[in-house]
């Protein structure tokens, strides 16, 4: 189980902050989210926020290995 500490959350929020404001993410049944919605979910440790953090970490690991 991934331990989500404050530093990790800050890193993910920094990455989410660069998402353009004129786009949204649709996540099917979960709904549609703006950049601000995603950041709020990460800050509040919701299941969605935890999912985004987990995937960001996986993504960064994969990028460092050259995908």
């Amino acid at each position: 189980m991934l331990q989500i500490n404050e530093e990790l959350k800050k890193l993910v929020i920094k990455r989410l902050e660069v998402m353009p404001s004129n786009i949204k993410v649709s996540m099917g049944t979960l709904g549609t989210f703006s950049k601000e919605d995603l950041i709020k979910n990460v800050e509040d440790d919701t299941n969605l926020g935890k999912f985004v953090v987990k995937m960001q970490i996986e993504y960064l690991k994969s990028m460092s290995k050259g995908l």
Partner: protein
């Protein structure tokens, strides 16, 4: 078994309207290849129609578009009516290749379909996600921001219709996703490209194949 497929594509709200619009490409290819299909479009995507069709026609391939329940037990149709549900009617997909462009379904429903004799099942074990323009929700077909997500998900049924096995279709979609991630790495629009790469990565990681890898349409 006849070479025939069923597609469901509800249209009752804008998120499923994206999947509805994206499916046109699949249907165009089927028409070009003279492949027979039945399209349960918009309000035709009901449980009654799907069940009757599966019982009577026994299609080789079923493509579901729609929401999936977060507990992964059902794929939904028009007005979010459950079309296929764990423990209720998954046996109707016996001998069938299933592609479910729906959230979560492979976790529980996909496994149940395979246990009940389904040939293979390609779906997602998380929320299938896509980026879209905030002002294109009324016209998904023209939303260029969503285009790569259309490509990676359409690649699965199109590969199957082109004669690839289900595992090849699954792998081709992942490979395309990886290729697009690389292409977006050299995009001039850094902020959009960065977000696109990440959400493509999410979809690539939650896409799952279950059942017979050699199943073929």
């Amino acid at each position: 078994m006849s070479k025939l497929f069923l597609i469901t594509r509800p249209h009752h709200e804008y998120r499923v309207a994206y999947l509805h619009a994206w499916s046109k490409e699949i249907l165009d290819i089927a028409q070009e290849k003279c492949i027979k299909f039945t399209d349960f479009d918009k309000n035709k995507a009901t449980k009654e129609r799907v069940e009757n069709y599966l019982r009577k026609m026994k299609p080789t391939l079923v493509i579901f578009n729609g929401h999936g329940l977060e507990n992964a037990t059902a794929i939904l149709g028009h007005n979010d009516e459950p079309l296929i549900e764990v423990g209720k009617n998954t046996d109707l997909l016996k001998g069938t290749i299933v592609y479910a462009r729906a959230c979560y379904s492979s976790n529980v429903l996909g496994k149940d379909v395979i246990e009940k004799g389904g040939n293979s099942y390609i779906g997602y074990n998380g929320a299938f996600s896509w980026l879209h323009s905030a002002d294109r929700e009324c016209n998904p077909a023209k939303d260029k921001i969503a285009e790569p997500f259309k490509q990676i998900s359409n690649e699965i049924p199109i590969s199957i219709l082109n004669g690839h096995t289900s595992i090849e279709a699954h792998e081709r979609a992942k490979k395309l996703c990886s290729k697009l991630i690389q292409e977006y790495s050299s995009s001039e629009n850094d902020e959009l490209a960065s977000a696109t790469r990440f959400w493509l990565f999410v979809d690539m990681n939650i896409q799952e194949h279950l059942g017979n890898p050699e199943s073929r349409f």
